[in-house]
């Protein structure tokens, strides 16, 4: 081959290579990928809660990417099974993965406490949709999550009295038996419920209560105590999978006492697992998307293929705070933390989201739900 032709061929191919690479780089520059994480129980007995929450986060990201085609959002799923022991094994990886700009979660308070040291060390901002333990935002407590921890849900010192009130509504001189599942979430909540009961006219706490390990399946001794105490209302602070086992045994024992539970029991799996025994149960929780915007709920179902579930409003709000932060150019952890701290915006529920110095929002409304024909039905905000 002629050396001239050889040379020009080489020049042409080199030019093509350079141009090609440049073009590819330009195309990549157009779409940037940012990562956030969702942390909660995605497997295990509490998986239903985590899957519902993660769906809401994915939905928020989907809508965001549609509006902002040049930003791609990657969601890392961090499965802590709602268990502090599991959380402390998955949190170090999340904390040290610098591509993660913020976490929606953890879902549960115990798992939050176990994860906190790693996220504090990594300066990773967290916005929990459902961790309600009071001490998480109490600067005097060793569980204090500041500066990284925030939540868009009301605390247990609001929920406890609301649950006490809802459980005893319409029951004159209520005799209330309260028991917990020994978890980091349930024990303090039980305290706030008992404190709340003192303010309910005519209500008395009876039987001394109980504290049952969350692996228990035989509730006979607790039921013996409930029967001895003559309780007309039984309040359980714990989670839905256990509550379902308990309520069946309580009804089988012949007791007709009202059963009530906190937001740990608030899950549509509860009536499914417990069947007819769950009818009439009174559960405190937070209203879902469907109650706030039927239009948004319809779109959610269309996009995600399933209905929205528990804490969908909170998870959607939490994800949007991080997503707006990314849009505003806060693409380092430090900037994102600053963004969240200074954030002021609207929740899909219409409330104004603004965090106080300890990471709490100013509102927090709990709604009452009752089981009717195998489904938890919203009966309105507890006032």
């Amino acid at each position: 081959m002629n050396s001239k032709i050889q040379r020009s061929l080489a020049v042409v191919s080199a030019a093509a290579l350079v141009f090609g690479v440049a073009a590819a780089t330009n195309a990549q520059a157009a779409v940037k990928t940012y990562t956030i994480a969702y942390q909660g129980p995605l497997s295990g007995g509490e998986a239903s809660t985590g899957i519902d929450e993660q769906n809401a986060v994915k939905y928020a990201a989907k809508l965001f990417m549609k509006k902002n085609p040049n930003i791609k959002i990657k969601i890392v799923s961090v499965d802590d099974q709602g268990d502090p022991a599991v959380a402390s094994t998955v949190a170090p990886g999340t904390g040290s993965n610098k591509s993660i700009l913020g976490v929606v979660g953890p879902a549960y308070s115990g798992a939050t406490i176990a994860s906190l040291p790693y996220y504090k060390a990594g300066g990773l901002v967290m916005i929990s949709p459902s961790a309600t333990r009071v001490s998480l935002t109490d600067p005097a407590s060793p569980d204090f999550g500041g500066p990284v921890f925030h939540r868009v849900v009301g605390k247990d010192d609001l929920q406890g009295p609301a649950l006490a009130k809802y459980a005893t509504t319409g029951v004159s001189s209520a005799k209330v038996f309260v028991f917990d599942d020994q978890s980091a979430y349930a024990v303090p909540l039980r305290g706030f419920v008992e404190a709340g009961l003192k303010k309910v006219a005519g209500a008395t706490v009876v039987g001394g209560g109980d504290s049952v390990p969350n692996t228990t399946t035989d509730f006979a001794p607790t039921i013996a105590k409930i029967k001895t105490s003559g309780a007309t209302v039984v309040i359980y602070t714990g989670y839905y999978s256990q509550a379902a086992i308990f309520i069946k045994q309580l009804r089988d024992s012949g007791s007709t006492a009202i059963f009530a539970g906190g937001d740990g029991v608030f899950n549509q799996e509860f009536p499914k697992l417990a069947g007819a025994s769950a009818e009439g149960s009174r559960i405190t929780g937070v209203g879902g998307l469907a109650g706030i915007s039927p239009k948004l709920e319809a779109d959610f179902k269309k996009q995600m293929g399933v209905s929205s579930g528990v804490y969908s409003v909170e998870s959607y709000d939490a994800a949007n705070i991080l997503l707006e932060g990314i849009k505003a150019g806060n693409t380092t952890r430090a900037k994102m933390l600053k963004w969240v701290k200074a954030y002021k915006g609207k929740s899909v529920s219409g409330n104004t989201i603004k965090f106080d110095a300890n990471g709490d929002i100013s509102y927090g409304l709990f709604a009452g739900f009752t089981t009717k024909n195998g489904v938890l039905v919203n009966t309105g905000i507890i006032k």
């Binding site: 020994q182 109980d210 049952v212 035989d218 001794p221 607790t222 999978s241 086992i245 089988d252 697992l273």
Partner: protein
């Protein structure tokens, strides 16, 4: 401390304790039979139980096509369904018992391994079973349908004789009696006892050692499978980690009664079941484990081989 509960619920707690005790007894036979023959603890037995609970659900829902929210069954259909689920769970656990022995014990026995080797291989097998089930079931609790309507024969002194409670106790007694007769009266039972006394001498007598060991694991699996069926029928739920607590309680039962001793397991189970109920009711459920294990330590301090265990001198090292 809640002593009031004793006044109105004493017999109720006793009855519930005995029913729970029978479930412990049936699982503990899986430990005690194997220990009697091999002087080794079968730590995989708790997971054999767990598999049995899932086998029960598979039999009821998967094979016999009863839906989770289906109505209770009656008459022949009920008896057939319960009997099928019981036999299915027992057979699955029996076969699993044999497999556990083949995988975790046989080769190590042939190589003359130290007890620690068996302990580790049994725990490893147990973890494999546990984690596999966790992955397959997505760690979610599985509800078993209420096929048996829980009607009551009536109350006596506050104790509610409900059909499931009565069924567990009567079946427990029958299974235990049959097993006891089998071990004491039949040729195979005698072979098991012979191996338990002396491996070497029983070999000289022409007993096929491997077959006896397999048989022992099979029988332990059968009783554990029966326990799994009763557990699932009474509590109507299971989960991948259900074996841990129940297995621990059954192991405690075996040790309390004197591991290796069938009748010891029986008394150990009754004692533990009732003790757990009273400790939880009087002191609070949070004190249950503290009470149970304090009593266990005290018993072992006084009788190192359990209440009905062999005297120390007779124990092989």
């Amino acid at each position: 401390m809640n002593l009031q509960v004793l006044e109105s619920q004493f017999w109720s707690l006793c009855l519930q304790g005995v029913a729970l005790g029978f479930i412990y007894v049936l699982i503990s036979l899986g430990y005690t039979m194997v220990y009697g023959v091999l002087r080794l603890i079968n730590f995989a037995n708790s997971e054999v139980f767990m598999i049995g609970t899932f086998a029960t659900v598979v039999a009821q829902v998967g094979i016999l096509q009863n839906q989770t929210d289906s109505q209770s069954l009656h008459g022949f259909r009920l008896i057939y369904t319960l009997a099928f689920a019981l036999v299915f769970s027992m057979v699955v656990c029996g076969i699993l018992g044999i497999l556990v022995e083949l995988v975790a014990y046989r080769r190590l026995r042939a190589l003359g391994a130290k007890p620690l080797g068996f302990l580790i291989s049994a725990i490893a097998t147990s973890i494999v079973l546990l984690e596999t089930t966790r992955i397959v079931t997505f760690s979610r609790p599985q509800t078993s349908p209420r096929l048996l309507d829980k009607w009551s024969f009536g109350e006596v002194a506050g104790a509610n004789f409900r059909i499931d409670t009565v069924m567990v106790i009567i079946s427990g007694v029958i299974i235990f009696f049959v097993l006891d007769r089998f071990v004491t009266k039949t040729r195979l039972g005698k072979a098991i006892r012979a191996v338990s006394m002396s491996e070497e001498n029983s070999k000289l007598m022409g007993i096929n050692l491997n077959r006896v060991v397999s048989l022992t694991f099979f029988i332990g699996g059968l009783t554990t499978g029966a326990a799994a069926f009763f557990y699932t029928t009474v509590y109507e739920t299971t989960q991948f980690n259900v074996g841990f607590n129940l297995g621990l309680a059954a192991f405690t039962t075996a040790v309390l009664g004197g591991i290796g001793n069938l009748r010891g397991a029986f008394y150990g189970g009754m004692f533990l079941g009732v003790l757990e109920q009273f400790a939880s009711a009087i002191l609070g459920s949070q004190w249950k484990s503290v009470t149970v294990f304090t009593v266990l330590v005290l018993v072992l301090l006084l009788k190192p081989n359990g209440i009905f265990g062999e005297a120390v001198q007779q124990t092989r090292t």
